[in-house]
């Protein structure tokens, strides 16, 4: 391994905020701030505002009113929904942590064959293709799913995995734990080995070492992941709807917004409440990290010292990892079976197998695949660029409002895709391109919608990565005469590489299966991404297999891209270190 910049500098004290305040002003920072603010204003705030103003309007007079918020507060259904959403989100964070911690710990801490493979497979649950994923989950874990049919035959019991709030917690944890896994792994890899060694010299080892030293140092990554899981579960409507749980806030908002021909303000009121609550919980999670410094100057050693495991330990570790992967990848196995099945109905396994569905998909819809790669790839790149810029402005910048950019960008998590889609049509349909077409019919608008919707994922990853980079490294470089932009390019970004990759992967993977905004914005099937094709297939009984096949293709594409970006990040990070 190459030596790190820090290695030549020795241990430097992290810069205090006070020091930074006296640095000379940077005009580039103001420009960056203005550009990001403009982007968020144009592609998030304005479109959303054009739609949610209904929440504040008196329906008879059109004037301003808060009566709808009063209705929200005094309605039992919404109070119950709010409490349910809160409970489910908290429990999902707990369960997702139980899944992610062992995977992250074993693969970063020990010499482990196929660590990258485990980390790649660990991302796949994020890619739960709409509809197809739901059917596959039902066929495996539903009341008449494989597991319960077998349990019923053998022991005459039936476990309601997919029912009620506990079902939501189960599915959400399996679905979103990769947020924690990815960010935690990135964080663990950045920990200064010297810290661990000092602790060992002082006599700490085993679990105590992990609990007192390793985990606290990896806190930025964990908090980034956990807050994402919390907010995402709080705002998610797909899973509760798939399990037919309606007494939660996001499904309530969705059901009201999507009623044909009714402008019920309560739906938008709930959207506003969701946005406010997301920002609030983000602020609370930032309190958890406040006043502490996670930056370390040692880099390039690949983080923690890797141990060899004894034979017994290895067996145990492999068993745990295998069990967890089997659980979280079960839906994808179900999806694979579904894509190969002739008919699968009320039986543990399909009646027969065929590859006809794949033949149909490749014959009818290969353009979906290229479109998805382009759209999700571009969206991921935009997100990483924006995420890094915002993280730098917040953590290193001196503009007072920078934190608000962070909150603003994160509020995108709480905006239902449909609201964003309608807002885009409302805002951009009147804008004509040079060739006379409407801006809203240009495929780039889908990319922007995807980028805005997935920006929070990349932003949290980038912030966590930057929190672990010591500002003293940058100051050292600046003292040696490097300009700000050069410092960012040569010092900061290479040190953040792991976090950037994690950010790109989460944005890219989830953008590849986004449907709700896409469904609003796609204007011709030639421009449509894969999720749209999946939707089209999954609306008919004969299309179920083909939809599943398209889902598997999505999973493979995202899996391969994830593997590639892991490899690029590892190699790139290593090479760029001087």
């Amino acid at each position: 391994m190459s030596d790190t910049p820090a290695g030549t500098l020795g241990v430097a004290a992290p810069a205090s905020p006070g020091m930074r305040r006296f640095l000379p002003s940077r005009p580039g920072e103001a420009v960056a701030f203005a550009l990001v603010a403009l982007f968020l204003l144009a592609f998030l705030v304005v479109p959303v505002l054009t739609v949610v103003t209904v929440a504040f309007q008196d329906r008879a007079t059109g004037g301003f009113t808060l009566a709808h918020f009063g209705d929200f507060l005094s309605n039992d259904l919404f109070t119950t929904s709010f409490l349910n959403s809160l409970y489910v989100s908290l429990m999902s964070v707990v369960v997702a942590s139980l899944i992610a911690l062992p995977l992250a710990y074993f693969t970063t801490r020990f010499e482990f064959r196929g660590a990258i493979l485990v980390q790649t497979l660990g991302v796949l649950p994020l890619i739960m293709p709409p509809f197809a994923g739901a059917v596959a989950m039902g066929l495996l874990f539903g009341r008449s799913g494989t597991v319960n049919l077998l349990l019923g035959d053998l022991f005459d019991i039936n476990i309601p995995f997919m029912e009620g709030l506990n079902g939501v917690i189960f599915v959400q944890s399996v679905h979103y734990f990769p947020f924690i896994l990815l960010n935690l792994v990135a964080s663990l890899k950045n920990i200064d080995r010297a810290m661990e060694e000092s602790a060992q010299n002082l006599g700490a080892h085993g679990f105590r070492l992990f609990r007192r030293i390793v985990l606290p140092l990896a806190m930025p990554g964990y908090v980034a992941g956990a807050s994402l899981v919390f907010i995402k579960v709080f705002d998610d409507l797909a899973t509760p709807l798939l399990l037919n749980v309606r007494e939660m806030l996001a499904p309530q908002a969705y059901l009201r917004i999507t009623s044909v021909g009714l402008e019920d303000p309560i739906g938008y009121v709930i959207s506003v409440v969701l946005i406010l609550f997301s920002v609030l919980s983000l602020w609370v999670s930032s309190l958890a990290l406040r006043g502490k410094d996670y930056a370390t100057v040692q880099r390039g050693g690949g983080g923690l010292a890797r141990r060899r495991m004894s034979r017994g330990q290895a067996v145990a570790a492999y068993a745990v990892i295998f069990l967890i992967l089997a659980l979280v990848l079960a839906p994808h196995l179900g999806l694979l079976l579904l894509s190969l099945a002739t008919v699968w109905s009320f039986a543990p396994l399909p009646d027969g197998y065929t590859i006809a569905h794949y033949a149909r998909v490749f014959a009818e819809s290969s353009q979906y695949i290229t479109n998805t790669l382009i759209y999700a790839g571009l969206a991921g790149l935009i997100d990483v660029v924006l995420g890094t810029t915002i993280a730098l402005l917040v953590l290193r910048g001196r503009i007072a409002g920078a934190r608000w950019l962070d909150y603003l960008a994160m509020s995108a998590l709480a905006v239902p895709g449909l609201v964003l889609g309608i807002g885009y049509l409302r805002t951009f349909f009147g804008v004509t391109l040079p060739d006379g077409r409407s801006l809203a019919s240009f495929w780039g608008i889908i990319v922007l919608a995807l980028a805005v919707r997935r920006l929070p994922y990349a932003l949290r990853a980038c912030t966590a990565a930057l929190q672990q980079v010591s500002a003293s490294l940058e100051e050292a470089a600046e003292n040696l005469g490097a300009r700000r932009l050069r410092v960012i390019r040569r010092i900061v970004l290479p040190l953040m590489a792991g976090g950037l990759a994690a950010g790109f992967i989460t944005s890219f993977a989830t953008a590849a299966v986004e449907l709700s905004a896409t469904l609003m914005l796609v204007q011709s099937s030639g421009d449509a991404p894969l999720a749209y094709g999946l939707y089209v297939f999954m609306q008919s009984p004969a299309g179920r297999g083909a939809g599943a096949a398209l889902g598997i293709i999505a999973v493979v594409i995202v899996g391969v891209s994830t593997l590639l970006s892991h490899l690029v990040a590892e190699r790139g990070g290593g090479r760029k270190s001087p």
Binding site: S144, R246, L425, L519, Q539, S540
Partner: protein, 451 residues
Amino acid sequence: MRSVLARPGGTVLGRRALGALAVFAAGAARAQTPAGAGKVSVVTSFSNDVTGPFKRAFEAARPGMTLDIQNRNTTAGVRFVQETRSNNAVDLFWASAPDAFEVLKSAGLLEAYRPTAQGIPERIGPYTINDPDGFVTGFAASGYGIMWNERYMRANRLPEPKEWSDLARPVYHDHVIITAPSRSGTTHLTIETILQGEGWEKGWGTVKGFSGNLRQITERSFGVPDAVNSGQVGIGIVIDFFAFSAQGAGFPVKFVYPSVTTVVPANIAVVKNAPNPAGARAFIDFLLSPQGQEILLEPTIRRLPVNPAVYAKAPQGYPNPFTGSIGMPSLHFDVVESGKRYAVVDSLYDQTIGTNLDALKRATKAIGEVETRLARRDNAAARALLAEARSLIDAMPVTQAEAASDEVTGAFTGRAGSPRQAELEQRWAAFAREKYQAAAAKAAEAARAAG
């Protein structure tokens, strides 16, 4: 290849002649109007399995025309047409849900067109096939009914249901699935038909009867056949073609039309300021031509043609609403009343059944258990208590007259002087919850009386 009768530049054939030609030259309409060339953009909620065969046949019959299909769910489709009205690029809106067309029509977003096709009657069951003002054209019919998974029924030893009231029997508890009427225009019409066919009070009793046995209320209509096809739930209340096309795809499902049912048209309409109005009309005419109507019989589509003559080509046992074998020809469907209370009925279902499903199910289950015991050993006192419990369940917060009154309907349109929608809904939900709890208490009392 096909000859082109009409040269570009002049309308050689009138539209009527064109329609007649389409009727008589079944197999391929050999005419092409010059203005009808080019791309026809269609926003539709139908899947590829439905649109694909029509697209291929239409493009073959009309060389030079292409059908550009944009799949969106009904909500997104309606919103799309609404939001892009300033610079409309859509020629046709093609979907099942009658309410979606109603919204577009009342927003002035549709263009009237009376198709030229011959031999299509005015009514199918109690409904007119076409919009009286000519804005919406029915091209196929579908009936509502009960679909079930045979393997599921066998494994759970369930008898095959025939009528809506069968589904209220205790044996089906927790085995039924439906879409909320607020989410599906066709479910709405089914509920409305039951209410009009049986009367407001008795009708709600029937609806609450089977609703007490629901496992789930899904938010999208295709969620129901999906759950039945995969065997997650045994019995679904669905529109017929979901069941027929599932059978066509090989799933072990069966379907029956109850005697009180609706046969409702699926529709198509020309969007206002369509970029290619001639092409749009040509496609509607094609849909209604014998060739287009026959495509409906394909195994993956299986909808009921609106042209009675086409049934001669249908396979054995194909349901035919024109022979009176399904639907309720006798029912007089009051369109005005139905239209007035549209949102009210949806909201009543959502508030009294949707959000209170658990309480309703508990009460229904308790009543069912006592009933099963009474079937073995009768007890008059317990029977009386059960009747009380049932009437508590059936109670509705508003009467038929109130449901269509300006005060109540105004809450859903934001009329000044009406209560706000959220206020009303909270009241209705609380009303139902209280009644269901009382019903469960009565059922417990009946259980004690039964000994």
